[in-house]
């Protein structure tokens, strides 16, 4: 059977989660590989979550929240953006292909956009192949991905 990647999505409760619900209500068909974890806000997303997801066998990660000006929490996602700039370096450090982490903004009304992101993420990760998490000690080892 062809490679079926595992993709974990960290999304905020107000915008993207609602957008993903809307995609469902609108019956938009999309790739089945994405599993959503609901968080209050992208501001709550800790870079370690992403590392952890890879360590636990994810092949790709989506991080998505409200559009910068529309954050439910005024500025929560502003902090997320700042943190994730630093996070890019971290990915490099652990040896992860940055293409495995997809950042986006999806509002509550953008069901179609969510579908597009899911589909393109699935396609990208399928192309990159499985991510081999070579961890050693809990959380401290380097992740190496075969891509």
């Amino acid at each position: 059977m062809a490679f079926q990647p595992k993709i974990t999505a960290f999304v905020c409760n107000w915008c993207t989660y609602t957008g993903a619900d809307l995609a469902g209500t609108s019956r938009l068909q999309m790739a089945p590989e994405v599993r959503i974890i609901r968080l209050p806000c992208t501001g709550r997303i800790d870079p370690l979550f992403v590392i952890k997801a890879f360590e636990r066998g994810a092949d790709g990660v989506i991080v998505s929240g409200c559009h910068p000006a529309d954050c439910h929490y005024n500025s929560g996602n502003y902090h997320a953006r700042r943190r994730f700039a630093i996070f890019r370096d971290l990915l490099d450090f652990v040896g992860l292909d940055p293409r495995r982490v997809i950042f986006s903004w999806v509002s509550a009304s953008e069901g179609g956009k969510w579908r597009d992101i899911v589909d393109s993420a699935a396609a990208t990760i399928r192309e990159l192949g499985p991510c081999r998490a070579d961890t050693g000690d809990e959380g401290r080892g380097r992740l190496a991905c075969a891509s």
């Binding site: 995609a23 089945p32 599993r35 959503i36 968080l39 929490y73 902090h79």
Partner: protein, 673 residues
């Protein structure tokens, strides 16, 4: 030991068509910690709920996962069900296998597999859930209303009539706002003072309203239900308890040449004055900038000058030495109703970055070119001319009045792109008032569109044209200048294609509506946001029009956007209803998904304090038994915290956590997916 129950819903065919619900239940039955799993056709139906309740009791469940629709749909429903069965409601989670699974996939096998994975992850999360108690916050059943225009007056009266205590803060010496300056009001031509004055008096006499006129909000702290407000009561130089409003002082003041702000500069007032006869409170203010005595003091003259007002006052109420005083009020909710100002016809635009004024209209330096409020004063029976519409320059009755609409509005080059909404209507009103008083006068209106969307509004503007004979010319005017006795108006009628050069006796500029100066500073004190123009942002443009993004703070009237009187009143009432709704509860109940600091481990770096978008993080001193300071730690105010989790993601040691979204819970979920 966890004893989790899993309930898988078919939602009729909605889930059942692509997800094999019984296989999901089957798969979960063998998941560690799951002691009960079953599927049912409609889990939210009465029998479905009963089934959950009974299973909890029968299996002594310690946690529940409902694999069904989105939590946005039924999380509340099932948490209630769980609570009814005696379990803490926060030990229930929903696995979304409908919106995010069955509805978006067609392959039954894949969809079922995914549903199992999703449900497992939530089971893992529930295992890490802890019982949470709903937060209860006491409410101070008093409200602060800032601004005593018609919006603020309406809100204050509705609140007080509804049983709440009200503190009304007005920065001018009387309440009434702009409505007190208007002559008659569209769309019915009611006399503005006649309908406003009784309401102002009601405010003054209401036992539950405390009016602080000539006062401003200095500082605000606290949060919904528990604000503390410091009010600056500016020195009137008049003792409020002694003064009886007889007016002898204002009669006695020899310094009578001060431009009258209430009359928009069209009249004069003494240095000690009441803005208008129906003022509430009816009590003068001594203008220290213009009073001879204070001017002498500023010049260093030590001898007491003038003092005629004090001599005239039989009550001894004049108090030259009075200073600003401060009072602190505790309130549970705040309504902002600070109204508007007009785009100035002059060059300077207070707090108007990028706004330049109109050189081609002479920056207000051309005699007999006035703004809309000045026209209101000319038309008002209580105005400086007793309601005779005459030219400010020479007192002559104007035979042709030219009105220019959209001055400053709808003009991105001059900085204001929006439509001010009320001016089409008040220009039509001005036309009528003018024609009613000057029967042979000619009214010419330069407009771009007539925007009159309201009950009876279009009929009103049509009346101005059809019955009052106003000549509406479609086009913006290029230039105005004074030529001898008249004002030349160089315009164009885009409908007839005619260039026009009109001689006007009086020109009225319908200038844009802008928020009050000082609004940004006030918004900052209240932690609410303004739009790019300075209007207060509502929480949602359609569904939460009188709330702000800060809990417990509401907005009404023209400080939110250009508004006419009916809308300002409606907003005032709506904001009051919102506040009364808030006050109707014994305590504020809030979801306990707020952050909590682990004081034992908190290092006191206060990174969390810096990033919190709501200012919910405070500091607390930790002392040992002998009372010595051990350390200072962060502390989250649960009344303010919105549970966004930014602090948690920021804290280097993870010593602050949002309840319900702890690291442990999320890691459990990640691991299971």
């Amino acid at each position: 030991m966890a004893r989790i129950g899993v309930f898988v819903c078919h939602c009729g065919e909605n889930i059942g068509r692509t997800v094999d619900a019984s296989s999901v239940a089957e798969a979960l039955r063998s998941h560690p910690g799951v002691v009960h799993a079953e599927d049912y056709r409609y889990m939210c139906s009465d029998p479905g709920q009963t089934l959950v309740r009974e299973a909890i009791a029968a299996n002594r469940l310690t946690g529940v996962v409902v694999a069904a629709c989105s939590p946005h749909m039924h999380e509340r429903t099932f948490r209630k069900v769980v609570a009814a069965a005696g379990l803490n409601p926060f030990l229930c989670e929903m696995a979304n296998i409908r919106e995010q699974c069955s509805w978006i996939h067609e392959d039954r096998e894949q969809a079922t597999g995914k549903a199992i994975a999703i449900t497992r992850a939530l089971v893992e999360k529930v295992k890490a859930n802890t019982p949470l108690e709903t937060i209860r916050i006491p409410i101070e059943r008093r409200a602060l209303v800032i601004g005593g225009g018609i919006a603020g007056i309406q809100a204050a009266l509705d609140l007080a009539d509804g049983g709440a205590e009200v503190v009304l803060v007005e920065k001018e010496s009387s309440i009434g706002g702009h409505m007190s300056q208007l002559s008659e009001t569209f769309p019915t031509l009611d006399c503005s003072q006649c309908i406003l004055t009784p309401r102002m008096v009601e405010v003054a006499q209401h036992p539950r309203i405390r009016l602080y006129a000539y006062s401003e909000v200095e500082e605000v702290s606290g949060y919904i239900g528990n604000f503390e407000v410091k009010v600056r009561r500016k020195a009137r130089s008049v003792n409020e308890t002694l003064c009886n409003g007889c007016g002898a002082c204002t009669q006695a003041c020899p310094n009578r040449k001060v431009p009258n702000e209430f009359e928009c500069g069209l009249g004069k007032r003494p240095a000690i004055s009441v803005p208008f006869p129906q003022a509430v409170p009816n009590m003068p203010v001594l203008d220290r900038e213009r009073c001879a005595r204070f001017m002498a003091i500023r010049k260093g003259i030590t001898k007491a000058v003038c003092g005629k007002c004090a001599e005239a006052c039989t009550r001894g109420a004049i108090d030259f030495a009075q200073e600003d005083r401060f009072v602190t009020e505790k309130v549970g909710a705040i309504i902002i109703a600070t109204g508007y100002q007009l785009y100035s016809i002059g060059k300077e635009q207070p707090e108007g970055e990028g706004l330049s004024g109109y050189g081609e209209y002479g920056y207000g330096q051309v005699p007999d070119v006035i703004d809309g409020l000045q026209f209101e004063r000319l038309a008002s029976a209580s105005g400086p001319t007793g309601g005779r519409i005459v030219r400010p320059s020479d007192g002559r009755v104007p035979k042709r009045v030219v009105f220019l609409q959209c001055v400053g509005s709808r003009d991105p080059s001059r900085g204001i792109p929006y439509c001010s909404k009320i001016c089409c209507m008040y220009v039509a009103k001005h036309v009528m008032l003018y024609r009613h008083k000057v029967h042979d006068g000619e009214a010419v209106v330069f407009y771009m569109d007539v925007r009159a969307a309201g009950k009876g509004y279009d009929e009103f503007t049509r009346r101005a044209i059809e019955e009052e004979g106003a000549i509406y010319r479609r086009g913006r005017v290029a230039r105005l200048w004074r030529d001898g006795d008249v004002v030349k108006v160089q315009g164009f009628d885009t409908l007839s294609g005619e260039p026009l050069l009109l001689d006007a006796d009086l020109v009225v500029l319908a200038t844009a509506v802008r928020p009050q100066p000082g609004i940004r500073a006030l918004a900052q004190k209240l932690s609410v946001s303004c739009d790019q123009h300075g209007f207060i942002n509502e929480a949602h443009p359609k569904l939460r029009p009188v709330e702000t993004n800060t809990a417990g703070i509401f907005v009404a009237g023209a400080c939110q956007a250009p508004r006419d009187i009916p809308e300002s009143v409606a907003m005032g009432s709506a904001a009051a209803a919102k506040v009364l709704g808030l006050f109707s509860k014994a305590e504020l109940e809030r979801e306990p998904t707020v952050a909590r600091v682990d004081a034992a481990h908190c290092a006191g770096c206060f990174l969390c304090e810096r990033v919190c978008p709501y200012g919910a993080v405070g500091r607390r001193e930790v002392r040992d038994r002998a009372g010595r300071l051990v350390k200072v730690v962060a502390e989250v105010n649960p009344g303010v915290c919105q549970g966004c989790g930014t602090c948690q993601a920021t804290c280097p040691g993870k010593h602050v956590e949002v309840q319900g979204f702890t690291d442990q819970q999320i890691y459990a979920e990640i691991a299971a997916l």
